[in-house]
Amino acid sequence: MSRCGRTAHLEAVAMGEASPATSAELRAHAKQCVLCRHELNWLESESTMFRQRAGRDEVAQLWKGVAQRSGLETPRAWPRVLVAMAAAAVLVLVVGRVAPRSVSLATDTNRQEEEALESSMLSSPAFLFFQEDEPCSKLPSGVGFQCSPVVPASFLASR
């Protein structure tokens, strides 16, 4: 189509691949050379058409198909029921970790109180009153026993 030796370099000008200096030189040449001018006009027209056409492309929603074929599928959002169940499970775990400690604390406190109470009861004279071995005798009717309470001397002395 063209016998000018510089035509082959014009494509780089039209494609924006040539340096500014080379571009300027070749464009200046094309103004004088009919063949190169024709070629440059075509190259630039083609570039313009391809560029305008590319600018109208719409991005299709194709990722889903690629992800399915490649095993890259985006994980689906969890249904609300599953989310609620997971939250409940987490709650149970958290409470489970804290609650036994508080229960054991409460148990310890109760036990201490119980021990203190038991201790005070055991040391109570009234309790001692019933703790003493005492002779019991059968009631005259023959049914049941009658025990005579024995007040310890120490208690009487404290009075």
Partner: protein
């Protein structure tokens, strides 16, 4: 795994393909998705031009990226994702066409014009709907291989070396094919651009 992800810098529009390819090769799906989003428009347009059917192009685009994902570990030139994925797209399109069996792969008698074709004024070229229709028709008249080579160069800006690698051709063959494709395209477009017959 979370610690691994946290160490990676965030993916931005400035993240080069090379970095995305390396990260995708380490099974970072977000990096592969970024590559997909960056190139899907070009790949789909390329496939639409090769297959000339939108729905086929959609399916072929998905197949292309699925294959790219499966074969990504083989890509050693990490900065050449685009030519590599367009090469895969070409194979996918040609396989689809073989199934359809109604396209010419190579030109025997290409009817390439030999005379100098008058040129349009690039400043006045406006691709309206009518011209776009003729433009698409003109591209469709090219044989499949020649069309693919032309599109890789003119539409997607690939270097001749990349096209040669994708086709398994020599660089002079690529240049010759693209030159012939151009002449044929121009002959078809000229009446619609200048009102003249070549």
């Amino acid at each position: 795994m979370l610690r691994l992800l946290q160490r990676q810098p965030a993916i931005t529009p400035e993240t080069p393909d090379e970095a995305l390819v390396r990260r995708a090769q380490q099974n970072e799906s977000a990096a592969f998705k970024a590559l997909f989003e960056r190139h899907v428009v070009a790949v789909r347009r390329f496939l639409r031009d090769l297959l000339r059917q939108g729905d086929l192009a959609d399916d072929a685009t998905q197949e292309t990226f699925a294959r790219a994902h499966a074969q990504l570990v083989k890509l050693t030139d990490h900065d050449r994702f685009k030519p590599w994925v367009l090469g895969i797209a070409r194979n996918v399109a040609f396989e689809a066409r073989r199934v359809r069996q109604h396209d010419v792969l190579d030109d025997e008698d290409d009817g390439t014009p030999t005379a100098v074709i008058p040129s349009p004024d690039p400043e006045r070229v406006l691709l309206d709907a009518e011209l776009e229709k003729h433009f698409t028709e003109a591209i469709g008249t090219l044989s499949a291989n020649r069309r693919a080579a032309l599109l890789m160069r003119l539409d997607h800006g690939l270097a001749y070396e990349d096209i040669a690698a994708a086709f398994g051709w020599s660089i002079p063959t690529v240049k010759n094919e693209i030159h012939r494709a151009r002449l044929k395209l121009r002959a078809h477009l000229l009446p619609h651009l200048t009102g003249e017959r070549p």
